[in-house]
């Protein structure tokens, strides 16, 4: 395909299941992975709940898409960032998350966002 590799950042701010945003973001990320761009995923606000361990959706009869986050590595999507402030507000720690992530402060995240060519927010 050629051309300059662009930096794409996907910002996830919604809890899973209550709305369709989290699942739709995941679909878009998987499609985008096919285009060999520099992709990073950010989880802030209620978006951090998408990565909570131990999700079991049998009782609400909805597909549990949380295992997909663990499969992202296979699509060469390895940059997952979580905002520390969002975790703390919800009583969560890195150990509560189902994938390895890099926990960043708001300041660090702000700098990272600044470096992107494209930022898509869900």
């Amino acid at each position: 395909m050629g051309g300059k590799v662009k930096r794409f950042m996907y910002v996830n701010r919604k809890a899973p299941y209550g709305t369709i945003y989290a699942l739709e973001a995941l679909e878009v990320v998987l499609i985008a992975a096919a285009f060999d761009q520099d992709v990073s995923l950010v989880f802030v606000d209620d978006g951090v709940y998408q990565l909570k361990k131990g999700q079991n959706t049998k009782g609400i009869d909805v597909k549990n898409f949380s295992p997909t986050y663990r499969a992202l590595e296979g699509y060469d999507i390895e940059k997952l960032y979580v905002e520390r402030e969002s975790l703390e507000a919800r009583g969560l720690t890195e150990e509560d998350l189902l994938v390895p992530v890099e926990v960043l402060s708001s300041e660090e995240l702000r700098e990272l966002m600044e470096q992107q060519d494209v930022v898509l927010s869900f």
Binding site: G18, K52, I60, N64, R90
Partner: protein, 101 residues
């Protein structure tokens, strides 16, 4: 007569829970469902608000929605867990129902 209220929005994203707590009459029952279940958890920014609300209201939470979100093991003590059958019982027990959206 007590009313049953449901709250289905995350307390971190919307002010739905705040409005419900402000306007519901003492002695009412509040059932947290869908993303509203995040309000029922220990150690969050809103835990104290719920603990305070428990003095005035009967607070319940829907178990399948907790399980789906992987947070069933950190519900504040004293909050009643109900399943879908329990939800139906709550509706039947109360004279009126208000869904805060």
């Amino acid at each position: 007569m007590p009313m049953l209220h449901t709250v289905n929005k995350s307390p971190f994203e919307r002010n739905t829970l705040d409005s419900c707590l402000r306007l519901a009459k003492k002695g009412s029952t509040i059932l947290l469902i869908e993303d509203g279940v995040y309000a029922a958890l220990e150690g969050t920014r809103v835990s104290d608000r719920i603990r305070q609300a428990m003095q005035e209201f009967r607070i319940c939470v829907l178990e399948p929605d907790l399980e789906a979100r992987g947070v069933a093991d950190r519900v504040i003590e004293g909050i009643e867990r109900v399943d879908y059958g329990g939800f139906v019982d709550l509706v039947a027990e109360h004279d009126a129902f208000q869904a805060w959206l």
